[in-house]
Each structure stands twice: as structure tokens, then as C-alpha cells.
């Protein structure tokens, strides 16, 4: 089955995903999966994205508090700005914005790297050793991206909340304890669970679409940018659709 993914089509993606799943399910006994590749992926996707995520989260948290306070104060409801922070940041923006950053940095990098490896016949080399390229290159990258995505979303939430408090402190002279009391009184377990589920799903989407497009390059280097663009577009589309679906499911079963 591992070779059937080479057929370029929608069923091709599902065959590729099934082959990946099959290798991932036998993770413990699977020597094809490389811990070195996983660690390098976590380092690149997670650690090296921290400065950008920090800036984005701090700014978003602060902006929401600023805009929310401005808007809600008109109705004498300024205290409820924390609801906006929980709803908008924890439920939605942390996942979506982190996913967009990961698509832009890691999705493109994975697709380009694998595409170039295909052109330079490095994947043929791996196969000639009897090592499964799906296990060695794909499963390892998917695990790396998913782990990094979960960590980044949690980190985004923490920094955005701190950003929210920082701006509340500057403009409303609100103490940290008071801010956190208001925030925690509104935050529910379901918000955290939904945010974590989204991060896992987005991580799987980004890494599987990017690896599939990279592995679908045949021989020409001109295919690499085309496949990378396709990886970005399909990832963003799938992220938005899955976000709507998960949010709807949480709304139905709340």
C-alpha cells in the first residue's frame, strides 16, 4: 500500500494518509520512524517559531482588551472584556493564527524539502536501503509538527492572556490577581479541551498535506513551488473547515 500514494489524485491522498496511519500505529516497533527527525521537526516548527508567536500573541491579547474595553465601556459592560478574551483568543484565534504561522513556516518548508529530496533522488536512496520513506520522513514529521503545534497553541494562549493583562494594567490599572480571577471565572474546561483538540487536528492537517504534496513531486524542480502552493492552499482550506466543524460539535454537545 505504501507505493499507491504515488498516484496523484484525491484517492491518492487518502491512500497516502492510510499508509502513514498504518506506520504510525506501529510506532513502538517501527524502526523506520526516526527520533532524530522528530526532534529536529519540533525544534524547527516549535522552538524557532517562538519569537513570532510571542509577538503575535502579545499584540492580539492587548488589542482585544483595548478594543473590547472601548466597545463594552460604551454600554457600561467593560468588566465582560474577559469573555471576549476567552471566546476570541482561547477558542478561536490561538489555534487559527498559530496554524497560519505553522503553515507559512513549516508547511512550506516540509513540502519544499521533500519535493527537493524527490528531485535529487534522495527518497529513492532511502527506499534502496529498505527504509520506508513514509515512516522515516512522513510519520516523523507529522509527530514533530503535532507536538510543536500543541505546545505553540498553549504558549500562544498564555502569552495572549499576559498581553491582555499588560494592556489592562496600562490602561485600566487592573491588578494581575483581579484580572486572572475574572479570566478564570469565565474560562471552562471545554474551552481548553476545544483549543487542544483543534491544535492536534490542525497539526495533522498541515503536516499531512505538506508531506503529501512534497512526496507527490515526480522529477522536475519546477513542480516544487507548485506543490508547495497547493500544500498551503489546501492546508488553509482544511484548517478553516475543520475549525468550523469542531466549533459546531462543541456548540451542539455543550
Amino acid at each position: 500500500m505504501t507505493k499507491d500514494y504515488k498516484k496523484k489524485s484525491v484517492p491518492g491522498f487518502f491512500l497516502f494518509f492510510a499508509a502513514t496511519l498504518q506506520e504510525a500505529l506501529h510506532l513502538r516497533s517501527n524502526r523506520h520512524v526516526s527520533s532524530m527527525v522528530i526532534l529536529r521537526q519540533i525544534l524547527f516548527t516549535g522552538y524557532e517559531a517562538l519569537p513570532l508567536i510571542s509577538f503575535l500573541a502579545l499584540a492580539i491579547g492587548g488589542l482585544i482588551i483595548l478594543q473590547g474595553t472601548n466597545l463594552l465601556s460604551n454600554f457600561g459592560q467593560g468588566i465582560w472584556v474577559h469573555i471576549v478574551l476567552v471566546t476570541v483568543v482561547v477558542n478561536e484565534l490561538s489555534g487559527i493564527l498559530t496554524a497560519l504561522v505553522v503553515v507559512a513556516r513549516s508547511g512550506t518548508a516540509i513540502s519544499t524539502e521533500l519535493g527537493n529530496m524527490k528531485v535529487r533522488r534522495e527518497i529513492d536512496l532511502i527506499e534502496s536501503f529498505g527504509i520506508s520513506p513514509i515512516g522515516y520522513l512522513v510519520v516523523s514529521r507529522i509527530i514533530g509538527v503535532v507536538v510543536a503545534m500543541v505546545v505553540l497553541v498553549v504558549y500562544f494562549n498564555v502569552i495572549a492572556i499576559l498581553g491582555g493583562w499588560l494592556f489592562s494594567r496600562i490602561f485600566n490599572h487592573l491588578e494581575f490577581r483581579a484580572f486572572m480571577n475574572d479570566f478564570l471565572s469565565i474560562l471552562k474546561l471545554s474551552h481548553v479541551v476545544s483549543s487542544l483538540i483543534k491544535s492536534v487536528v490542525f497539526g495533522i492537517i498541515i503536516s499531512s498535506f505538506s508531506t503529501y504534496q512534497g512526496m507527490s513531486v515526480r522529477h522536475a524542480s519546477t513542480e516544487v513551488p507548485q506543490r508547495t502552493i497547493r500544500a498551503v492552499v489546501t492546508s488553509i482550506f482544511a484548517i478553516i473547515v475543520s475549525d468550523l466543524l469542531i466549533t459546531w460539535l462543541f456548540w451542539v454537545f455543550r
Binding site: R120, E122, L125, F129
Partner: protein, 219 residues
């Protein structure tokens, strides 16, 4: 080891090929177009997609044979371009198939083995560097080291002289002559060095695609 192609057609250009390869000695596939010989080597290691027919290894279907034991132990493939993984250091490249075959590899023993092969190939490279730092010819010789370290049953070599300068060609020829008696080889080449004097058997594929012209046993 005997490899039999039974009416094989493939994606890379093999058409209705019937061929029997005796891999107990050195066999050279003479193919000026290089397409068919390259496709045959690729098919043996499972890189070509078969459309029709089957490949048998000692009478067992090819895929079944490769399931029984690690592929790298059976066939050590040296690509014409001496491919290295560009995101790994040279040492990591050398270690990749070895680690895959033996995860509990002794670091000291492996280093000794690497040093010995590097000395044999007269290669003086900084193995902590990435492949991009070195010339293609040096990387090609290093790819021979990587394959020989695994000690495969059969050495498959695609166009041995490709990318090598005159000195490197002479060096490689000497080394392969020394290995000839202990390592069965299947070589795809159009060079005279391998066409005469070196091979135990030459298979002439210079006719139309997939048509065998002649098999000459020189031993």
C-alpha cells in the same frame, strides 16, 4: 543468487523483458542508452513500478524475498550520482543504513570501520560537514564506502565512472578489482574498463528497448 525477469514491463522503460541474471560473479549490463540497464537496477531494488510480469530472486517473487530479510543486506545499490541526504552530515549519511540494519551499533567499532574504508578509498573528508561542501566525485566515492560498509550480498553499481575524474576512476577501478573475487556485482556501464577484462559476464542490451542482443560469458 539468480534473478529472473519474466516478461517484465515497467514505468521506467522496461518492455516485455525476459532476462536471467546470475549474480554469483561480476556481471556487466552493456547498454549505451543507459535507460534499460538503469531501469533493471532500479527494478531489482524496488524503485521501478512494474506494470506487467514478475521478478524472481532464487525462484521467490522479488517482493517476498525482500520481505524476508532487510533489503540493504541483499542489494547494496550505488547510484550513478552518488546521492547523499543533504540534511545530514557525511557521517550521519554513512551511518544511516548501518543504524537501520543494526540499531545497537557499537560506536567505536563503526568508527574503525569507517576509518578503514576511508583509508582504502584514500578519502580525506571532514565527516561532520554536510555533503554540499564536497565535490560530486568525492561524494560518489563516499557512496561506495557507505554501501560497502553494509557488506551486501550483491553490489549493484549504476554507471561507476559517472562524475569521477581520471584519478578517481583509476582509484575506483583498482578497488573494484580487489573486491571482485569476494563481492558479486551487477554493473550498468558503457565503459571499456568494465566491458572487457573486468566482467565475468557481459549482457549486451544495446538493441531495441528491452531486447537482449547477446550474453557473453567471459569466465
Amino acid at each position: 543468487m539468480k534473478i529472473t525477469f519474466e516478461n517484465v514491463s515497467s514505468l521506467e522503460g522496461i518492455r516485455n523483458l525476459d532476462l536471467e541474471l546470475d549474480l554469483s560473479h561480476v556481471t556487466v549490463l552493456y547498454d549505451p542508452s543507459e535507460i534499460l540497464s538503469h531501469a533493471i537496477l532500479n527494478a531489482i531494488v524496488g524503485l521501478d513500478e512494474l506494470w506487467d510480469g514478475q521478478i524472481l530472486v532464487d525462484g521467490i517473487p522479488h517482493w517476498q524475498y525482500l520481505d524476508q530479510e532487510p533489503q540493504a543486506r541483499s542489494f547494496g545499490y550505488v547510484f550513478d550520482e552518488g546521492i547523499m541526504l543533504s540534511n545530514l552530515s557525511l557521517k550521519e549519511n554513512l551511518m544511516l543504513p548501518l543504524r537501520w540494519l543494526n540499531p545497537d551499533l557499537d560506536e567505536g567499532e563503526t568508527q574503525k570501520m569507517i576509518d578503514s574504508w576511508m583509508q582504502r578509498f584514500d578519502l580525506n573528508l571532514d565527516l561532520s560537514q554536510r555533503p554540499v561542501v564536497y565535490r560530486p566525485g568525492e561524494l560518489k566515492l563516499l557512496s561506495f564506502v557507505r554501501t560497502l560498509m553494509i557488506a551486501p550480498k550483491v553490489l549493484l553499481i549504476d554507471d561507476p565512472y559517472y562524475m569521477l575524474n581520471k584519478t578517481e576512476r583509476q582509484k575506483l577501478y583498482r578497488i573494484l578489482c580487489n573486491l571482485k573475487n569476494s563481492n558479486p556485482m551487477l554493473i550498468a556501464s558503457i565503459d571499456d574498463d568494465f566491458g572487457s577484462g573486468f566482467a565475468d559476464e557481459i549482457i549486451d542490451l544495446s538493441g531495441k528497448q528491452g531486447n537482449l542482443v547477446s550474453v557473453a560469458s567471459l569466465s
